[in-house]
Symmetry: none
Subunit: 421 residues, 2 copies
């Protein structure tokens, strides 16, 4: 089945908005075995939209149109869809009611221009959007089935999962089962892992299994994709490859499938509690842990300092420390655990490796554990300030994960300069 | 002049790589007054490439093709370009020399397949690439001038600035100046502002000014775009619209152009210092402030609690508070300012409005100021946990901005339920 994606809107066309809706949709479709073969971007311009709809309608079997369903005058999707299909627009009373209810639930009256969002081409099928006021709709133009979707990322993501993927799979007629297996790792780059896993795909018998990577620094995702007659058969076919990946990547694998570094840490805490002290991280270490531990059972508290000294004072250490060294990290991890009565204290301190040069950063990590020695790890991370900060935060959390799982926190990572101390 | 961008490559088509090359090119071109009117994405597939080249060649005056100039077999741009133009390929001896020199300078011998990068369509004009081994080239296909460019971000960015923009400006023959004016606001949705600014565009005399919006919740960006003969003329023409926007949106405007909420707060602190206590925010309040105040001159420290109690203990308040109420926020803002010796203390506490229902959240904000009354603001934010959290964080920072600027922090926002208390 030939699928195209057509993104609309001046913001995307002019490059003001980076088109992450496109990449998200294409990637998710590929993960369920559907390939996008053509992408088009046009602005909020009637003539371009008509031409793009006609071209896609002549080429494709299915077209996802993203954007242009908003309440303002430059949102043209319904109107141009109707024109391209040669039909009129008709008010969908049910959806109008939905929008009014949506506003009423927020204690507001629907502005009159939102009524436009309930005007759909005649003969189109409404596609539900429980998280917004723009409904989607499906309509045949030319030889293709068009799926019109809202441009708000949260809304299109929801609609893609719950509405479009089932419809597209049904339309494609493939009854095959697909299975996606994912491994998340920290510390090795894509080309190293690619090298390391050479030949692993051939371990599958009875059908192809595709190996792929997705680098989202600082993590790398290693993906296996198979298609077969049943989930059981697929699991059996993919098992030897999975075993090889686990063996070759070892402790660098931090989680699998939908588990995250944070969720793995939360489980590994096993009744313990955590407090965090951080500097140079934009508060991301505590931010990520508190985000997953919403009831505060594991995460006690986090402190972020504008300076090393200010952080030390907040930990009751006075002015004893003024530089982000390994011994400062050790003292801070122990102090934050102590003053919070937490079983574990994590300190992550990041500072430019050289004064005035933020291209490399020294990361100091310490994990304090009640009744056991504090473990310290230092690294020089390279690649500019953003990579240093994000890499350092990840190294801090991954170091905690390794220690909780009884693994070494000292394994080298590809993003650090080995000769630095 | 009608400009199109055609991105090639399986990585971009499948969504594995987010297409930042496209957004960078389109944005830079708009900044010099050149509009991209159509974007196409196809994979490393001969048939799709030929069709895309023919379609663009029939529609556009200029086409930038990005990607497909590499040394491997799936890099097809030169070959398909020659086919679409009906010419053969010819070795460019000069560029082959360049590639060999490039490798020699790195102490390596050119791999044989790199020779492919010096094979150009007959009649094409070579475009220099001093930072890589893939040269660009220009070639007429159909009625359009095609510019073929490398996919490596660093290389296309360099080529765009130094080679393409001068050629495209010359081809377009326009010397017009463009001006983009931006207003950032918090608290009003796009359709309300659209309504509120009705007629404002007509205040411009002597040429069109376009009004547009970009919603990135919780902020809204209101943009004015004009094109004219000189920057001075444009500023004069746009001034009455800008004045109308400032008057109608009033205190909701938090910054203009490249200023951010954080940078405005930093300036408005005017020698003061800030400490933050937060709960239910994933640490984002401190995270955003510490990110902009990298030398720690204004931001002293932030504390994030896993529970209200744990946060209170970290602030030296013992077990006195166990719920996220307005009076807790007041006490925490005062305590964090006090224990940090900061001139200002900001507390942002967010909790689900009803037990077990995270669709709505109560946000409690308090700003403590040395020698002045602490200001408290409560709101019930709607739209699900992410919007509650992001909206609450924004309301906390924007409340601080308003108080520092002597404005009311009590203005209602569109994301809150007005009947809640």
């Amino acid at each position: 089945m030939r699928i195209e994606i057509l993104c609309t809107g001046d913001e995307v066309l002019s490059g003001k908005t980076i088109n992450t809706n496109y990449s998200h949709m294409a990637r998710r479709l590929q993960e369920v075995g559907l390939d996008v073969v053509w992408g088009t971007t046009v602005g909020d311009d009637r003539e371009s939209l008509v031409e793009a709809f006609k071209l896609a309608g002549a080429r494709a079997d299915a077209v996802i149109v993203n954007g242009g369903l908003g309440p303002t005058v430059d949102d043209l999707s319904q109107e141009v869809a109707a024109e391209a299909a040669g039909v009129g627009l008709k008010l969908d009373e049910g959806w109008l009611k939905h929008i009014e209810t949506f506003y009423a639930a927020r204690g507001r009256v629907m502005p009159p221009n939102n009524k436009k969002q309930a005007m759909l081409p005649e003969g189109s099928e409404l596609i539900d959007n429980p998280v917004g006021t723009a409904c989607g709709f499906a309509l045949t133009i030319g030889k293709a089935k068009f799926y019109f979707t809202p441009g708000v990322p949260r809304e299109i993501r929801h609609m893609l999962e719950h509405q479009l993927i089932p419809r597209l799979l049904a339309q494609s007629g493939t009854q095959a089962v697909v299975r996606l297996k994912r491994f998340h790792s920290f510390g090795m780059g894509e080309s190293r892992v690619d090298d390391m896993l050479k030949g692993a795909e051939d371990l599958a018998e009875g059908g192809e299994v595709k190996l792929g990577f997705q680098a989202h620094y600082p993590q790398l995702e290693t993906k296996l994709f198979g298609r077969g007659q049943s989930m059981e058969e697929l699991e059996t076919r993919m098992a030897p490859i999975e075993a090889a990946i686990r063996e070759r990547m070892g402790a660098y694998i931090l989680s699998e499938d939908t588990d995250t570094l944070e969720s793995v840490i939360l489980k590994a805490m096993a009744g313990g509690t955590l407090a965090v002290a951080e500097y140079g991280t934009n508060g991301a270490v505590a931010g990520r842990m508190v985000a997953i531990d919403s009831d505060g059972k594991v995460f006690k508290r986090g402190g972020v300092g504008g300076t090393i000294r200010a952080l030390g004072r907040a930990l009751g250490l006075g002015e004893a420390y003024d530089r982000a060294t390994a011994s400062t990290a050790k003292a801070y991890a122990e102090a934050v655990a102590d003053t919070s009565s937490a079983s574990h204290g994590l300190a992550v301190l990041i500072a430019p490796a050289d004064e005035g040069n933020s291209g490399e950063g020294m990361v100091q990590i310490a994990v304090a554990r009640s009744g056991q020695d504090t473990i310290v790890r230092s690294a020089c991370i390279v690649g500019g300030p953003d990579r240093v900060r994000n890499g350092g935060v990840e190294m801090g959390l991954d170091g905690l994960r390794r220690i909780l799982q009884g693994l070494s926190a000292a394994d080298p990572v590809d993003f650090e300069r080995k000769d630095a101390t």
